[in-house]
Every structure is written in structure tokens, then in C-alpha cells.
Amino acid sequence: MRYFEDVIIGARRELGSYTFTPERIKAFATRYDPQAFHLDEEAGRKSLFGGLAASGWHTAAAWMRTAVDRGAGGRSARQADGDEALAGGPSPGFKNLRWPKPVLAGDTITFFTEVKSKRASITRPQWGLIFVLNTGENQRGELVFSFDGSAFVARRPVAASS
């Protein structure tokens, strides 16, 4: 397990990729964002997006899924590539979320996270806070998603001897 003390400022990790098939775009939009340009190819073409476009919240949710799969929530004991899972906790929120280009049907987005800073929690001595820049790029390398995230990460237990 990696703890707050192990988090390195400036480290940038590729989290994984997610392909936005028309079926996935429409299934998410049906539940959470049923606007015509997220549900119908023709409506998407006529919109400013220029095609069937994923809900921006679908892109955000896909970022979270890749982050969890890479161990952000401490779910997996050890990742396939040898990275250890982070002893992560909840997030108090984020800032500056942007969707600079639309995510269209067929796009594959690769997500990244980069640690910008960290500090100990004043109110919760067993935890620290990390601040990260999270991004997504499409198959042409164009930035389609970014936000300034934050999350609690557990401090290394003092008594742990194993």
C-alpha cells in the first residue's frame, strides 16, 4: 500500500483508457443527461458538438473508473504493472473542470493524473490531502477534459511493522 508519505509531487501517471461507444453514450445520457445531442446522432450533428456527444459527466465518471481501477481507492492490493494501490479516501471536491473539445461516439479517451501538491490534514491527523491535475486526451492527442482534483490519502500507520 502507498501512503501519503509515498506520494511524489510532479509524478504523472497514465490511468487507462475508455472507449465511448454510441451505446455507452446513450445509456449514460438516458439515465443522467437526456439532452438530444447526447441521445441521437442527427441531433448531435446539428448541435455545436458536430456529432453524437458524450455527456460531460460521462467523461468525468469514466475518469473516475480508470482512477479506481489504477488503485486510487485502495481497492486492489497490487496492480498488474506492479504499482501498489494508494491508501486513498474521499475527496472534498474539485475546481476548474473543463471540456475543451467534445467527446464524440467512437472516441477513445486516455486519462492521466499528476500530483501538484500535498499537505497534512489539520483536522484529521491520520490523513493528508493531495492536489492533482487530472486530464483526458482523445486518440489524436487532443485535450478533451481536465480538472483540479483533491483527495484525502491515509498517512502511514506508525505502529505498522509488516
Binding site: R31, Y32, D33, P34, Q35, F37, S47, L48, F49, A53, S55, G56, W57, A60, A61, A62, M64, R65, V68, A72, G73, G74, R75, G89, P90, S91, P92, G93, F94, K95, N96, L97, R98, W99, R124, W127, F147, F152
Partner: protein, 150 residues
Amino acid sequence: MLTFEDFKPGHFMTLGPRRVTREEIIAFATEFDPQPMHLDDEAGRKSLLGGGLSGSGWHMCALAMRMQVDGYLNNSKTLGGLGVEEVRWLAPLRADDDITLEVHVDQARQSNSRPGTGIIHFRSEMFNAVKQRLMMIVAIGLMAAREWRG
């Protein structure tokens, strides 16, 4: 159809209440945020959030989106979202919470780069049934004005 001219600074609309079921919380988390605290009561109790399982913060964002789409966006000439200034997750979403969303217009100004459209800053606050504030979100939307020709 609502156009840019209809959005004036101040309280805009209160949406809900909407029930968020345990099944819905687990379904969202299973697909997009499968951390134990969002899937299992025991894991939730042991987590920093305590108190049983909690909904993913991204689920709260998605629910706020859905409430706004149903409440006014699908009856507007929205051109899409430009971004989100800030989200604060203030208290956990719990199974079977009845949530409401208070939507305020913080700013509304004409767009310089896209004539005939306006940029609106919406500040929305999500509450549970006992008026505990769960989330605050400031989102920026692009809205067509009456004269917009597309």
C-alpha cells in the same frame, strides 16, 4: 422555450425532491466508482465518511445534471456546458435520501466570441430531506439568446 434573456441573477428554481435508492447508488458505483465505501455498508462504516454506504460524488453531479435537464434545460435553448468552476462535496449522499436542488444564477452575460449567445454561471446546492447541504456546484452554461440563428 427559455432563452438567455430568461436567466437573471438570483434564485432561479428549486428542483425535487427526488429519491435516490440504494440500488441506484450501487449501480452507479459499480460502473464508475467501485470503491468499497460506495458499495457496502460495512466498508462505508469503516471509511472516513462513516455511517453505511455513501453515493459517489460523481453520482451526485450526475443527479444534479438530470434534475436540471428535467427541470428546465430540456425546455431551453441550451448549447451545452462550458465547464464547472467548483464542486464541494460537503456531506455524504445516503441510500434512500430524498434530495432537492436549489439553483441560483450567479452571473449572466452576453458572449463576445459567439454573438447571439450568453454565458450563465449557475450555483446549485443539493440538500437531503433534513436540509443538510450535501453538495455545492458552480457550473457554466452556454445559452442561445432570442435572436440566435445557429
